[in-house]
Symmetry: C2
Subunit: 340 residues, 2 copies
Amino acid sequence: MSRTRSERDIISGIRAQLPGDGGRVLKGIGDDCAVLRQDGELLQVLTVDTLMEGVHFDLGWHPAQLLGRKAAAVNLSDIAAMGATPSFALLSLGVPASLPPALLDGFMAGFLAALAEAQVVLVGGDTVQSGGQLMLSITVGGEVAKDQVCYRAGAQDGDLIWVSGSLGEAAAGLALCKDGKDVDDPAWQQLLKAHLDPEAELLLGPILAASGYVHAMMDLSDGLATDLAHLCAASGVGAEVVAEQLPLSSLLRAAAVRYQCAALDWALRGGEDYRLLFTAPEEATLALEALVNKELGRDIYCVGRIVEGDGVTLCDGSQRLDISYQGYDHFAPDLVAHQG
Amino acid sequence: MSRTRSERDIISGIRAQLPGDGGRVLKGIGDDCAVLRQDGELLQVLTVDTLMEGVHFDLGWHPAQLLGRKAAAVNLSDIAAMGATPSFALLSLGVPASLPPALLDGFMAGFLAALAEAQVVLVGGDTVQSGGQLMLSITVGGEVAKDQVCYRAGAQDGDLIWVSGSLGEAAAGLALCKDGKDVDDPAWQQLLKAHLDPEAELLLGPILAASGYVHAMMDLSDGLATDLAHLCAASGVGAEVVAEQLPLSSLLRAAAVRYQCAALDWALRGGEDYRLLFTAPEEATLALEALVNKELGRDIYCVGRIVEGDGVTLCDGSQRLDISYQGYDHFAPDLVAHQG
């Protein structure tokens, strides 16, 4: 029907032309990060993520400093999802001539502060003129011990599926920003922060990876329905997600009422949660929960189970619904319309 | 006067906020590549370069496949300029919805072919929707032996200044493309290729670095006047460039007559030559020339001398002219106007 291709189609087309993993490259395209062998005991992980004004952010409501923090966080999240620790970053900026200098200063202040908090050094960059949109492309590298790297592939039939925090809040925060009303109301701050200033799971990722319990892991950037479908496809398994088990905050439900949206929809397809999604054998449940509670004083949430077959099935009461890849895709406007 | 800042100002502003080099980072922002320590005998080098439609390329005349090759070459050139050998790349694409799929396919075919020729593996990528312009941001990594890495800093008073090939041809090729007349005339193909399909000095860079003679090296991307000014600033020295010594081809001179431009201007300020610029002590002259001739069957060209002080001085007959930073800057339209 359409001459345009989805992001997934474009990436598939590129992957088909690439040589397989091997030699120095343990994992190329197709995970949160590429993984490269290097001399010594550590593997190198690498990721790139690009944020485009009007597609990924709106300067109308996104304070420049928080945008800088978010640009760092979305990349750091990919590193954490490998169980790795980030160490360096490269920044490519496409800057419209009309951009107020103070905005660029604010962006850089937030970006560098977020890198510094994560002990990441900006080692390179490139600044070019952009015709219209502000464009931010960031490459981050890090390291992980050879026996701790966590791929998307590896989930096994019978594994429980976990997420590291509540879902859908970034999508609800986006709805609030688009609406523009009551954004200064302290009641909504948690949702607004989820969209404007998300935090990467920099501590949790390596803790989970080092636990030895995790079979597969990735970060939640495109929504559970899409990201879990990727994890299943990489692992050659299917998944059942139980609607009642999804961690939905009361604040999320309140925002859903306000905007006549389904909180469940935000949680499954909203995207940008930057929580970790991982699977582990059922018998590791108590040990995993205890570990995360001891190390970080936090809970993790079981949302379903890995099964034989393929695809992601939502179990909602007696209903069973295939929700594979029902997520946020920048190339599919009909789905994007569901996001906010 | 203007609210916009030059690329150099923006980068200076960013650098001022960064911690100095140290620890794992041997060299951060400010050279062709960042240089990182890793376990073992090799250093890692990293570079990022972004090409924006309408600023760096024009799809009206740039065949997609050659654009893909060029996008690889401009990054590979930075790796070569450190004396390093490239090994992996990450690609970030900003794709307008209106872009014909065949164009993207052509771009990818050229890009991947150029990487394959250089034995570089594409390990990661990201595809996002762009509002208007096609945007290509590429990160390339590579390795170099610890005792062979060549920085911009290191040039010494008395060094001769060398370039690895003729200058200004990419700028002349751009003028031909803009004009659009006679672009199928075989007579102009060398100039057109210089603009559309430049080649990185992937073999020469490591050969020069391993020779032990080179004090400072970088690639020529913004024009000799600007790039040499960067090298001088990094080294704490000045430079004298002798106009008569600049390698200007007869084809370049013919194009300059056709377009009533100064061939010298193209050579000094045109940019995008992707030749290597390096300095070496005068006593190494014969050995360097013999080495490059033996290994690659090519000549190198001495264009001047490093002197005490600062800045780049052009010696043209009896005239002496400060040409420091008189180059291509995407943020300074008055200079850009001189480019084509």
